[in-house]
Protein backbone atom coordinates (compact mmCIF):
# COMPACT_ATOMS: atom_id res chain seq x y z
CA UNK A 1 0.00 0.00 0.00
CA UNK A 2 1.39 3.41 -1.00
CA UNK A 3 1.13 6.38 1.39
CA UNK A 4 -2.17 8.26 1.42
CA UNK A 5 -2.79 10.99 -1.12
CA UNK A 6 -1.15 14.35 -0.54
CA UNK A 7 -3.09 17.62 -0.58
CA UNK A 8 -1.88 18.25 -4.10
CA UNK A 9 -3.05 14.84 -5.27
CA UNK A 10 -6.42 15.32 -3.59
CA UNK A 11 -6.80 18.74 -5.23
CA UNK A 12 -5.82 17.30 -8.58
CA UNK A 13 -8.25 14.45 -8.17
CA UNK A 14 -11.13 16.81 -7.31
CA UNK A 15 -10.12 18.98 -10.27
CA UNK A 16 -10.16 16.00 -12.59
CA UNK A 17 -6.42 16.36 -13.09
CA UNK A 18 -5.31 13.24 -11.30
CA UNK A 19 -2.58 11.08 -12.77
CA UNK A 20 -2.60 7.30 -13.08
CA UNK A 21 -0.80 6.68 -9.79
CA UNK A 22 -3.48 8.65 -7.94
CA UNK A 23 -6.25 6.70 -9.62
CA UNK A 24 -4.52 3.45 -8.81
CA UNK A 25 -4.19 4.43 -5.16
CA UNK A 26 -7.83 5.47 -4.97
CA UNK A 27 -8.88 2.13 -6.37
CA UNK A 28 -7.03 0.38 -3.52
CA UNK A 29 -7.45 2.79 -0.58
CA UNK A 30 -10.91 3.09 0.94
CA UNK A 31 -9.77 5.86 3.32
CA UNK A 32 -8.68 8.14 0.50
CA UNK A 33 -11.79 7.32 -1.51
CA UNK A 34 -13.89 8.23 1.51
CA UNK A 35 -11.92 11.44 1.93
CA UNK A 36 -12.49 12.44 -1.69
CA UNK A 37 -16.19 11.58 -1.45
CA UNK A 38 -16.52 13.60 1.77
CA UNK A 39 -14.84 16.62 0.19
CA UNK A 40 -17.03 16.34 -2.90
CA UNK A 41 -20.12 16.21 -0.68
CA UNK A 42 -18.99 19.30 1.23
CA UNK A 43 -18.32 21.21 -1.98
CA UNK A 44 -21.69 20.16 -3.38
CA UNK A 45 -23.45 21.29 -0.20
CA UNK A 46 -21.72 24.65 -0.32
CA UNK A 47 -22.42 24.96 -4.04
CA UNK A 48 -26.14 24.44 -3.49
CA UNK A 49 -26.37 26.64 -0.41
CA UNK A 50 -24.36 29.51 -1.87
CA UNK A 51 -26.28 29.40 -5.15
CA UNK A 52 -29.57 29.38 -3.28
CA UNK A 53 -28.36 32.33 -1.23
CA UNK A 54 -27.34 34.21 -4.38
CA UNK A 55 -30.67 33.58 -6.10
CA UNK A 56 -32.56 34.58 -2.97
CA UNK A 57 -30.51 37.74 -2.70
CA UNK A 58 -31.35 38.68 -6.28
CA UNK A 59 -34.99 37.85 -5.65
CA UNK A 60 -35.11 40.19 -2.67
CA UNK A 61 -33.77 43.22 -4.54
CA UNK A 62 -36.02 46.29 -4.90
CA UNK A 63 -36.74 45.64 -8.57
CA UNK A 64 -38.29 42.29 -7.77
CA UNK A 65 -40.37 43.58 -4.86
CA UNK A 66 -42.91 46.06 -6.19
CA UNK A 67 -44.37 46.79 -2.76
CA UNK A 68 -41.08 48.02 -1.32
CA UNK A 69 -41.36 51.48 -2.87
CA UNK A 70 -44.94 51.76 -1.69
CA UNK A 71 -43.92 50.82 1.83
CA UNK A 72 -41.17 53.41 1.79
CA UNK A 73 -43.70 55.97 0.53
CA UNK A 74 -46.07 55.05 3.30
CA UNK A 75 -43.52 55.71 5.98
CA UNK A 76 -42.00 58.94 4.74
CA UNK A 77 -44.51 60.48 2.30
CA UNK A 78 -47.71 59.31 3.88
CA UNK A 79 -48.86 62.68 5.30
CA UNK A 80 -48.17 64.48 2.04
CA UNK A 81 -49.86 61.78 -0.04
CA UNK A 82 -52.92 61.82 2.20
CA UNK A 83 -53.17 65.62 1.92
CA UNK A 84 -52.88 65.48 -1.85
CA UNK A 85 -55.61 62.85 -2.08
CA UNK A 86 -57.93 64.88 0.15
CA UNK A 87 -57.35 68.08 -1.86
CA UNK A 88 -58.03 66.22 -5.13
CA UNK A 89 -61.27 64.76 -3.75
CA UNK A 90 -62.49 68.22 -2.63
CA UNK A 91 -61.65 69.75 -6.03
CA UNK A 92 -63.62 67.04 -7.86
CA UNK A 93 -66.60 67.52 -5.54
CA UNK A 94 -66.65 71.29 -6.18
CA UNK A 95 -66.38 70.85 -9.95
CA UNK A 96 -69.20 68.32 -9.98
CA UNK A 97 -71.48 70.58 -7.92
CA UNK A 98 -70.90 73.63 -10.18
CA UNK A 99 -71.46 71.59 -13.35
CA UNK A 100 -74.67 70.03 -12.00
CA UNK A 101 -76.14 73.45 -11.11
CA UNK A 102 -75.33 74.83 -14.58
CA UNK A 103 -77.13 71.91 -16.29
CA UNK A 104 -80.18 72.29 -14.05
CA UNK A 105 -80.48 76.00 -14.93
CA UNK A 106 -80.50 75.27 -18.69
CA UNK A 107 -83.77 73.34 -19.07
CA UNK A 108 -83.97 73.61 -22.87
CA UNK A 109 -80.67 71.95 -23.36
CA UNK A 110 -81.67 69.06 -21.12
CA UNK A 111 -85.03 68.55 -22.94
CA UNK A 112 -83.33 68.62 -26.32
CA UNK A 113 -80.82 66.03 -25.21
CA UNK A 114 -83.59 63.73 -23.98
CA UNK A 115 -85.50 64.14 -27.25
CA UNK A 116 -82.41 63.27 -29.28
CA UNK A 117 -81.72 60.25 -27.13
CA UNK A 118 -85.28 58.92 -27.58
CA UNK A 119 -85.05 59.30 -31.35
CA UNK A 120 -81.71 57.55 -31.37
CA UNK A 121 -83.06 54.68 -29.29
CA UNK A 122 -86.04 54.33 -31.66
CA UNK A 123 -83.74 54.18 -34.67
CA UNK A 124 -81.53 51.63 -32.93
CA UNK A 125 -84.58 49.50 -32.09
CA UNK A 126 -85.72 49.55 -35.72
CA UNK A 127 -82.31 48.43 -36.87
CA UNK A 128 -82.15 45.66 -34.26
CA UNK A 129 -85.57 44.37 -35.22
CA UNK A 130 -84.57 44.31 -38.89
CA UNK A 131 -81.44 42.34 -38.07
CA UNK A 132 -83.44 39.89 -35.97
CA UNK A 133 -85.92 39.31 -38.78
CA UNK A 134 -83.11 38.76 -41.26
CA UNK A 135 -81.36 36.27 -39.00
CA UNK A 136 -84.61 34.38 -38.41
CA UNK A 137 -85.12 33.98 -42.14
CA UNK A 138 -81.69 32.33 -42.59
CA UNK A 139 -81.01 28.63 -42.24
CA UNK A 140 -77.89 28.87 -40.00
CA UNK A 141 -77.10 25.19 -39.56
CA UNK A 142 -73.43 24.51 -38.62
CA UNK A 143 -72.83 22.51 -41.80
CA UNK A 144 -73.89 25.41 -43.94
CA UNK A 145 -72.19 28.01 -41.74
CA UNK A 146 -68.81 26.34 -42.25
CA UNK A 147 -69.34 25.64 -45.95
CA UNK A 148 -69.75 21.89 -45.53
CA UNK A 149 -73.01 21.91 -47.41
CA UNK A 150 -72.88 20.41 -50.90
CA UNK A 151 -75.56 22.76 -52.19
CA UNK A 152 -72.96 25.52 -52.67
CA UNK A 153 -75.21 27.94 -50.84
CA UNK A 154 -73.26 30.66 -48.97
CA UNK A 155 -75.20 31.72 -45.86
CA UNK A 156 -72.81 34.61 -45.27
CA UNK A 157 -73.53 35.97 -48.75
CA UNK A 158 -77.27 35.69 -48.09
CA UNK A 159 -76.84 37.34 -44.74
CA UNK A 160 -74.75 40.16 -46.15
CA UNK A 161 -77.19 40.82 -48.98
CA UNK A 162 -80.13 40.65 -46.60
CA UNK A 163 -78.61 43.24 -44.28
CA UNK A 164 -77.89 45.55 -47.11
CA UNK A 165 -81.42 45.28 -48.46
CA UNK A 166 -83.03 45.86 -45.06
CA UNK A 167 -84.33 49.41 -44.90
Amino acid sequence: MTPHLTDEQVADSLSGESVKTTETHLAECAACRGEIDRLRASLRAFDQASMAWSEARIGSEPGSKPDRGFSRMQSSWRPLAAGTLAATAIAFALLFTVHHRRLSADGNVRASNISDSTAEIERDNLLLRAIDEELDSLDLSPSKMYGISSSGDDPYARRRSGLRSTP
Binding site: H4, D7, E8, V10, A11, D12, L14, S15, E17, E35, R38, L39, A41, S42, L43, A45, F46, D47, Q48, A49, S50, M51, A52, W53, S54, E55, A56, R57, I58, E61
Partner: protein, 167 residues
Protein backbone atom coordinates in the same frame (compact mmCIF):
# COMPACT_ATOMS: atom_id res chain seq x y z
CA UNK B 1 -31.96 36.60 -20.46
CA UNK B 2 -28.21 37.16 -20.32
CA UNK B 3 -28.58 38.83 -16.95
CA UNK B 4 -30.85 36.25 -15.38
CA UNK B 5 -28.64 33.36 -16.48
CA UNK B 6 -25.34 34.66 -15.21
CA UNK B 7 -26.24 37.10 -12.49
CA UNK B 8 -26.60 34.61 -9.66
CA UNK B 9 -23.27 32.95 -10.44
CA UNK B 10 -21.48 36.27 -10.76
CA UNK B 11 -23.01 37.52 -7.53
CA UNK B 12 -21.85 34.38 -5.77
CA UNK B 13 -18.33 34.65 -7.14
CA UNK B 14 -17.92 38.29 -6.13
CA UNK B 15 -19.68 37.88 -2.79
CA UNK B 16 -17.70 34.89 -1.62
CA UNK B 17 -14.39 36.21 -2.94
CA UNK B 18 -14.74 39.69 -1.41
CA UNK B 19 -16.96 38.67 1.51
CA UNK B 20 -19.01 41.84 1.05
CA UNK B 21 -22.47 41.20 -0.33
CA UNK B 22 -23.38 44.86 -0.74
CA UNK B 23 -20.21 45.60 -2.64
CA UNK B 24 -20.78 42.45 -4.69
CA UNK B 25 -24.17 43.67 -5.87
CA UNK B 26 -22.63 46.95 -6.98
CA UNK B 27 -19.83 45.13 -8.76
CA UNK B 28 -22.27 42.83 -10.57
CA UNK B 29 -24.43 45.76 -11.64
CA UNK B 30 -21.38 47.60 -12.94
CA UNK B 31 -20.29 44.43 -14.67
CA UNK B 32 -23.53 44.13 -16.62
CA UNK B 33 -23.50 47.83 -17.42
CA UNK B 34 -19.99 47.52 -18.84
CA UNK B 35 -20.95 44.35 -20.69
CA UNK B 36 -23.94 46.11 -22.23
CA UNK B 37 -21.82 49.03 -23.35
CA UNK B 38 -19.11 46.75 -24.71
CA UNK B 39 -21.45 44.19 -26.29
CA UNK B 40 -20.30 45.17 -29.78
CA UNK B 41 -16.74 44.21 -28.90
CA UNK B 42 -17.72 40.65 -27.88
CA UNK B 43 -16.55 38.53 -30.81
CA UNK B 44 -17.45 35.13 -29.44
CA UNK B 45 -13.86 33.92 -29.10
CA UNK B 46 -14.72 32.85 -25.53
CA UNK B 47 -17.92 31.90 -23.76
CA UNK B 48 -20.25 34.62 -22.53
CA UNK B 49 -19.66 33.54 -18.95
CA UNK B 50 -15.89 33.85 -19.38
CA UNK B 51 -16.37 37.29 -20.90
CA UNK B 52 -18.64 38.37 -18.04
CA UNK B 53 -16.31 36.91 -15.41
CA UNK B 54 -13.41 38.84 -16.93
CA UNK B 55 -15.39 42.07 -16.79
CA UNK B 56 -16.44 41.35 -13.21
CA UNK B 57 -12.86 40.74 -12.12
CA UNK B 58 -11.80 43.99 -13.80
CA UNK B 59 -14.56 45.86 -11.98
CA UNK B 60 -13.42 44.25 -8.73
CA UNK B 61 -9.87 45.42 -9.41
CA UNK B 62 -11.16 48.94 -10.06
CA UNK B 63 -12.99 48.95 -6.74
CA UNK B 64 -9.95 47.47 -5.04
CA UNK B 65 -7.82 50.33 -6.32
CA UNK B 66 -10.35 52.88 -5.12
CA UNK B 67 -10.76 51.52 -1.61
CA UNK B 68 -7.80 49.28 -1.10
CA UNK B 69 -7.49 49.51 2.71
CA UNK B 70 -11.04 48.26 3.15
CA UNK B 71 -11.66 46.08 0.13
CA UNK B 72 -10.66 42.60 1.20
CA UNK B 73 -10.69 43.53 4.86
CA UNK B 74 -14.44 43.88 4.69
CA UNK B 75 -14.73 40.16 4.08
CA UNK B 76 -15.16 39.39 7.73
CA UNK B 77 -17.33 42.35 8.59
CA UNK B 78 -20.37 41.67 6.48
CA UNK B 79 -20.17 37.92 6.49
CA UNK B 80 -22.68 36.12 4.34
CA UNK B 81 -25.26 34.21 6.31
CA UNK B 82 -26.09 30.96 4.60
CA UNK B 83 -28.76 30.11 7.15
CA UNK B 84 -31.54 31.18 4.82
CA UNK B 85 -30.13 29.01 2.08
CA UNK B 86 -30.68 25.90 4.15
CA UNK B 87 -34.21 25.70 2.79
CA UNK B 88 -32.65 25.03 -0.61
CA UNK B 89 -30.72 22.14 0.86
CA UNK B 90 -33.89 20.93 2.50
CA UNK B 91 -35.52 20.42 -0.86
CA UNK B 92 -32.57 18.41 -2.21
CA UNK B 93 -31.59 16.23 0.71
CA UNK B 94 -33.90 13.35 1.57
CA UNK B 95 -33.75 13.15 5.37
CA UNK B 96 -33.40 15.63 8.25
CA UNK B 97 -30.05 14.09 9.19
CA UNK B 98 -28.56 14.51 5.72
CA UNK B 99 -30.01 18.01 5.50
CA UNK B 100 -28.35 18.95 8.77
CA UNK B 101 -25.09 17.37 7.65
CA UNK B 102 -25.21 19.22 4.31
CA UNK B 103 -25.84 22.53 6.07
CA UNK B 104 -22.94 21.87 8.41
CA UNK B 105 -20.68 20.98 5.49
CA UNK B 106 -21.69 24.15 3.65
CA UNK B 107 -20.91 26.28 6.70
CA UNK B 108 -17.53 24.67 7.17
CA UNK B 109 -16.55 25.26 3.55
CA UNK B 110 -17.66 28.87 3.91
CA UNK B 111 -15.48 29.26 7.00
CA UNK B 112 -12.59 27.62 5.19
CA UNK B 113 -12.96 30.05 2.30
CA UNK B 114 -12.37 32.95 4.67
CA UNK B 115 -8.93 31.63 5.43
CA UNK B 116 -7.90 31.77 1.78
CA UNK B 117 -6.28 34.65 -0.03
CA UNK B 118 -8.52 36.61 -2.42
CA UNK B 119 -6.93 35.02 -5.48
CA UNK B 120 -7.25 31.56 -4.00
CA UNK B 121 -10.92 32.22 -3.26
CA UNK B 122 -11.60 33.33 -6.81
CA UNK B 123 -9.83 30.36 -8.35
CA UNK B 124 -11.41 27.94 -5.88
CA UNK B 125 -14.94 29.16 -6.62
CA UNK B 126 -14.37 29.13 -10.36
CA UNK B 127 -12.99 25.61 -10.31
CA UNK B 128 -15.06 23.78 -7.71
CA UNK B 129 -18.36 25.68 -7.78
CA UNK B 130 -18.61 27.03 -11.31
CA UNK B 131 -16.70 24.03 -12.68
CA UNK B 132 -14.64 26.12 -15.06
CA UNK B 133 -11.75 24.49 -16.88
CA UNK B 134 -8.26 25.41 -15.75
CA UNK B 135 -7.49 27.04 -19.09
CA UNK B 136 -10.69 29.06 -18.82
CA UNK B 137 -9.76 30.21 -15.32
CA UNK B 138 -6.32 31.14 -16.57
CA UNK B 139 -7.82 33.17 -19.44
CA UNK B 140 -10.37 34.86 -17.19
CA UNK B 141 -8.03 35.80 -14.38
CA UNK B 142 -5.00 36.49 -16.55
CA UNK B 143 -2.89 34.16 -14.41
CA UNK B 144 -0.57 31.57 -15.94
CA UNK B 145 -1.93 28.04 -15.89
CA UNK B 146 0.75 26.92 -13.44
CA UNK B 147 -0.25 29.73 -11.06
CA UNK B 148 -3.89 28.70 -11.28
CA UNK B 149 -2.93 25.12 -10.41
CA UNK B 150 -0.84 26.30 -7.48
CA UNK B 151 -3.70 28.40 -6.13
CA UNK B 152 -6.09 25.49 -6.45
CA UNK B 153 -3.76 23.13 -4.61
CA UNK B 154 -3.09 25.58 -1.80
CA UNK B 155 -6.76 26.45 -1.53
CA UNK B 156 -7.75 22.81 -1.37
CA UNK B 157 -5.08 22.13 1.23
CA UNK B 158 -6.46 24.92 3.41
CA UNK B 159 -10.06 23.85 2.91
CA UNK B 160 -9.21 20.23 3.60
CA UNK B 161 -7.40 21.25 6.73
CA UNK B 162 -10.39 23.29 7.91
CA UNK B 163 -12.75 20.45 7.18
CA UNK B 164 -10.58 18.19 9.29
CA UNK B 165 -9.50 15.89 6.52
CA UNK B 166 -5.81 16.71 6.07
CA UNK B 167 -3.56 13.78 6.89
Amino acid sequence: MLVSTHRARLLRLVTFSTGDQDLAETVVQDCFLKAYRARESFRGDCSVSTWLYTIALNVMRDYQRLQKPHFWKSAGLTAVDLTDARSALASQEPSPETRMLAAEQANRVQLALKSLSPKQRIVFIMRFLDEMELQEISATTGMPLSTVKTHIRRAMKAVRSRLGGAQ
